[in-house]
Amino acid sequence: MVFFALARASFSRNLQYRASHLLHNGASAMFGFIYLSIWIGIGEGRDLGEYGLSGLVSYVALNQCLLWVTSFTTFGLGMPQLVRTGAIAIELARPVHLFYSMMSREWGTIAYQLLYKSLPIYLLYVFLVPLRLPAGLAETAAFFAALLCAAYLALCIQYLIGAVSLWTTEAMWLHWVNNALLMLFSGFLVPIEWLPGWLAWLSRWSFYPSLQYIPTRIYLGMDGIAAVLPSLAWCAALTALCFAATGAMRRRTEVQGG
């Protein structure tokens, strides 16, 4: 099956760099540690609502682990580079839909990052921070459902960023803006109900909470499986958008030379 062949290929390609990636995890864990220090600094002697200090510490620690699945996906799924070299025309001409082939490859990368990046950092935090273990089997299953949606959404967002590069030649800035907005609106550092009025409103009506806030709350047992519904709706909406973008890309691409 095309899906598995492409996913496996990108998984193996990533595997080549695993030693360097494991080193990278040290830096990533360090970032998480900075964020944890902020909350530990604030939490002393203050009421942190339903989370409590230990809950909030687990919340921030888990969010840091999830970044590798929900945020550090391949920039534009590699499409800006294809646009630059002109190889995008070949990709569009393949008998497999562009979105499907790009998505299949990215799932390999996501699976790799889950195993070799998120998991080691998660284990480190479970022993050192400590990050709470999930409440039970049902919560774990619901968490993985939410995480699956989050990974798919992250992939769709990168596909759209990649598609933009067909018009703008450069999309790196869009990628960085997306990362910055994710930090604020996904509840990554501050749970979204603590954002001031209009920021909380913006966040609630965006797809960002589906990336971090929803999976993490489910993991901590604060929300049930029903919380995944908005994520599912966003998955459907962004899929439609990705297909529309592909159509526009086909019309946009010009093949020159013979």
């Binding site: 360097s20 990278h24 830096a27 970032f31 530990i40 203050r46 869009l174 960085w176 603590w194």
Partner: protein, 271 residues
Amino acid sequence: MTTLRSVRGLIAMHLLLIRFSFRSSMQYRFNFWFGTIASAVIASVEFSLLAVILARFGAIQGWTLTESAYLYAVLVLAKALYRSLASDVHHLEKYLVSGDLDGLLLRPVPVLLALMTRNFSVRVGETLLGASMLAYSLAALARDGAIELWVALPLTLAAVVNGALLLFGIGLATAAMGFWMTRIEVLQNMTEDAAHTAVRYPLSIYPGWLKALLSTALPVAFVNYWPAMFILKGAVGGWTLALSAAASAAALAAGGWLWSRGLRSYQSTGS
């Protein structure tokens, strides 16, 4: 006299190369302006995260919103200055991996100067954001009588310039490691990205070992925290400013030494 003339020559060359680089980036006008706006958006989103926390909880370990804005502004301005002046030094890895550094070696310009002026960007967005945050913070603190503006302002500007030199020294030392390691992304992630993120927040929130690390081996705390402890809080003596200058001198010396050693042992990627 000859040294003076050669320094003047280098500065003239620097300005000329920057003009070339600027003209080439203006060929992609849309990207230039989009990038400028985007970097301001990114920096303001980063700060608003901290602002949201402070607005809700008041202060972190004795640092209020206005004081934290000061720390953030000094860091953003120093970093913008550093990255404008040193531009592609941060991207040395790209040159090492592709072998593009060979081309620079052939040019009648010092390699470091060539890298410093390639892909020049003014970082207008971050500079404007940093300057307005600094103005807000200093005005508010002066109104409350916490600082004397005519003393704090020049000291702060000096701290920004000193901070830029310090960040440049650390960036240069990290980049120079690339001559031996080739891949330096992970190292940069630690010494630059993580370190800059850490000092966005008051140092007092961290455990002792991390405070010590950020004030000695990787002295980024001298960019904003330690100068602010004197300029804003008066909690430490004026010697911290001298110490900050010493830290940047040490970082620059280390960076320069590693760079010249590294460049000498450079072996191209060629086949």
